[in-house]
């Protein structure tokens, strides 16, 4: 069967995208610019700017001279590739093989597709109209070869559909640039006076090869259908999801367990082959009465172990209410990450926080009691006791600074300091007696004061003078006086020493 190709050309790809995002730019001339060899060069211009004589490759200073209020925006590297990938994925509805053709086109292998839309003319009209309606200025052409379709889409003046076997005739009147040649070769052709393809197509190949090199002949052959041109098709990402429809509605715990296991086995086989692990998984149960019940699990570290994940789901089964029965199970993994394959230790050491068993234990605990209850702390660079620690983000985060040891800190620190009544001999002395929760403590020994100032750039208030005291029973406390001793100061108990 004769192959047919379609080339789509987006004349203003990036500027169309920005106009879609910011409709107020529709009637404003704007360009994308990038610095190149100490000059600011235009990489793309919108139709309004082009109408005023601005073209890409022009220096921005020249463009500003010819155009009033031209807006220059920074070129976004890699934006074309991302846009073309999105558009290409959208085009998969028209043909299974869609390839991105940088910098501004797509190539579709449409062999055997066009008749579904009632012929090539209707097919082409449908695609171009849809793209134009969605805001992208597109031109397309169909031919036997990708090269010919590319040439006609960009330089063709007559018809966009080249009948089978007619590509050589269609190319004759087009300029050499339609052959996708390198700029030096184009310059050379220009100098030699070859303005159209017609003027050199009859020249013997050996002569052309000597003058213009092998790539030139390859491009020519590809356009005429004499050489192969492989396309790299876009492959849409397949979501990590598994379905399990049930013949009979499932109502029992055992049934749900078996369903979860079956789904996990399928999912984990795929994850393992791709070297990925689940961070978050959602089980959706579609019930007979039309409602959907969900159970979600999260892990601290990517996992593709069926036994571990099914244990995490087992803790959630009690939350799944089957009612009249579940007819479809859907397991989705919206968050996956790469899993490093660890070399297992030959003899058991003490791996500490890096231990897989510990990570799995914490996943199970998080499933039962909630992740907010589980905390690990790292030192923070603050003297203020409440701020001297901060929760760690992950299990593997290491302290960036050392734990301080130079000052005594109580093993138990009250969330809020509790006011105590105090008797001190002299204003600036440690207290002699203090009453906490109705009990009188006689202070025998005391250390201090340690003054800790408030961080004025964070909050306002008095500083604290801390004393470590020991009462007659040998119990040790951390007391502080808020502020100076002049006015009647308030004393607080803030912690207990071991």
């Amino acid at each position: 069967m004769q192959k047919r190709f379609m080339a789509i050309w987006f004349r203003h790809l990036t500027t169309d995208w920005l106009t879609l995002k910011k409709p107020e730019l529709k009637n404003v001339p704007f360009v994308f610019v990038t610095p190149e060899r100490n000059r600011i060069i235009i990489t793309a211009a919108n139709p309004v700017a082009e109408a005023q004589g601005v073209y890409s490759g022009m220096a921005a200073a020249d463009a500003q001279a010819v155009t009033l209020n031209l807006q220059g925006l920074d070129h976004i590297p890699g934006k074309e590739a991302r846009l073309l990938r999105q558009l290409g994925l959208w085009c998969i509805r028209y043909s299974p093989i869609v390839a991105v053709d940088l910098p501004n086109g797509l190539i579709l292998d449409i062999s055997g597709c066009a008749h579904l839309w009632g012929g090539e003319r209707e097919y082409l009209k449908e695609i171009v109209n849809k793209l134009r309606l969605s805001g992208y200025d597109a031109r397309a052409a169909i031919a036997d070869t990708a090269g010919a379709a590319w040439a006609v889409a960009r330089y063709g003046k007559k018809t966009p559909i080249i009948a089978s076997g007619e590509q050589a005739n269609a190319l004759l009147d087009l300029p050499p640039a339609a052959l996708r040649l390198e700029p030096p070769v184009l310059d050379k052709l220009q100098k030699l006076g070859f303005r159209t393809i017609k003027s050199f197509i009859e020249i013997p190949r050996t002569v052309l090869r000597r003058r213009f090199g092998e790539p030139f002949l390859l491009r020519l052959a590809q356009a005429l259908g004499l050489g192969d041109e492989p396309l790299v098709p876009l492959i849409p990402p397949v979501p990590y999801a598994e379905r399990l429809p049930c013949l009979e509605p499932i109502r029992t715990k055992t049934g749900i367990e078996i369903a979860i296991r079956t789904l996990l086995e399928d999912l984990c086989t795929r994850l393992r082959s791709e070297g990925k692990g689940v961070r978050k998984a959602i089980l959706k149960c579609y019930r007979i009465d039309g409602k959907i019940v969900q159970a979600a699990i999260t892990t601290n570290r990517g996992s593709h172990s069926v036994s571990h994940l099914s244990r995490l789901f087992e803790l959630q089964i009690s939350k799944i209410e089957p009612a009249l029965g579940i007819e479809l199970f859907l397991l989705e993994a919206p968050k996956v990450e790469d899993v490093a394959i660890l070399q297992e230790k030959l003899w058991a050491g003490n791996p500490g926080l890096q231990d897989t068993a510990l990570a799995e234990l914490l996943d199970r605990l998080a499933g039962k009691v909630g992740a907010s209850a589980i905390r690990r702390y790292l030192p923070a660079e603050h003297y203020w006791p409440e701020r001297s620690i901060r929760p760690a983000v992950s299990l593997t985060e290491v302290p960036s600074t050392k734990w301080r040891l130079d000052r005594p800190r109580p093993l138990r620190l009250l969330r809020r300091p509790e006011p105590v009544e105090v008797m001190a001999l002299l204003p600036d002395y440690p207290p002699k007696v203090f009453t906490y929760k109705g009990k009188r403590h006689v202070v025998e020994k005391a250390d201090g004061p340690e003054r800790i100032e408030r961080e004025w750039w964070r909050d306002k208030g008095e500083h604290r003078d801390y004393y470590a005291v020991e009462d007659s029973d040998g119990q040790r406390y951390w007391l502080f006086r808020s502020g100076h001793y002049e006015a009647s100061p308030q004393w607080y108990l803030h912690g207990f020493f071991a």
């Binding site: 500490g352 799995e360 234990l361 009691v369 790292l378 301080r404």
Partner: protein, 245 residues
Amino acid sequence: MIMIAAPDRTALISRLQKDILQWEGYRPPPAGTNELMGLGPVESAFPNGVFPLGTVHELVCGNTEQATACGGFVTGLLSTLMQNGGACLWIGLAGNLFPLALRTFGVEPDRVIFITLTKDKDVLWVMEEALKCAGLAAAVCEVKEIDFKQSRRLQLAVEQSHVTGFILRNRSAKMGSTACAARWNIRSLPSGQRDGVPGLGCPRWQIELLRVRNGQPGSWIMEWSGGKFRQVDGQMVEQEKLMAG
């Protein structure tokens, strides 16, 4: 009836006692493991003279001050258990433990994972799961009440994994028997003076072993100084009192 000579009988009984210890989950210690935890004379109160690891210990605390003293003592023990890079789980009811202070007792606070819960039931569930996990060095939990059945479950969990568990019993109303290997009571004592310098000395505790399975209960005075436990005998206390006047 077969008559057994007297020396034979004592040998037989001591062998039987050793067997019973093994059946109860005590493994005979490898040679040269005396003073495992640096607790000195306290360790000789345990069977075979070795601090039992891979078991559950309970510590009785009557009030917050005592609970803090227990916390300090347990942290001192943890420093030995975690010295080769292990991690520890600290399951608390109130959650007002100050991680920074763990460093004082030789534990890297970032290797301790804190779990804050409100219900005894949840604490015991988490504790059981933690004790089953062989990747941990130790697990500590604070509960109000624990009955024999629950403590038995914890004991069964550690027999598989050989993790050491510590239960801090806060203000328990009743003190029933449990399956724990030892029951401790820790009280703060007035600290000694550091080289005659006024102010607070090293933390000092009265350590009481109320109950030891197959061991001898007793009472000692210990203090934490220079990164390890040190026994304080009665004479030293008297001397310090005299010096203080």
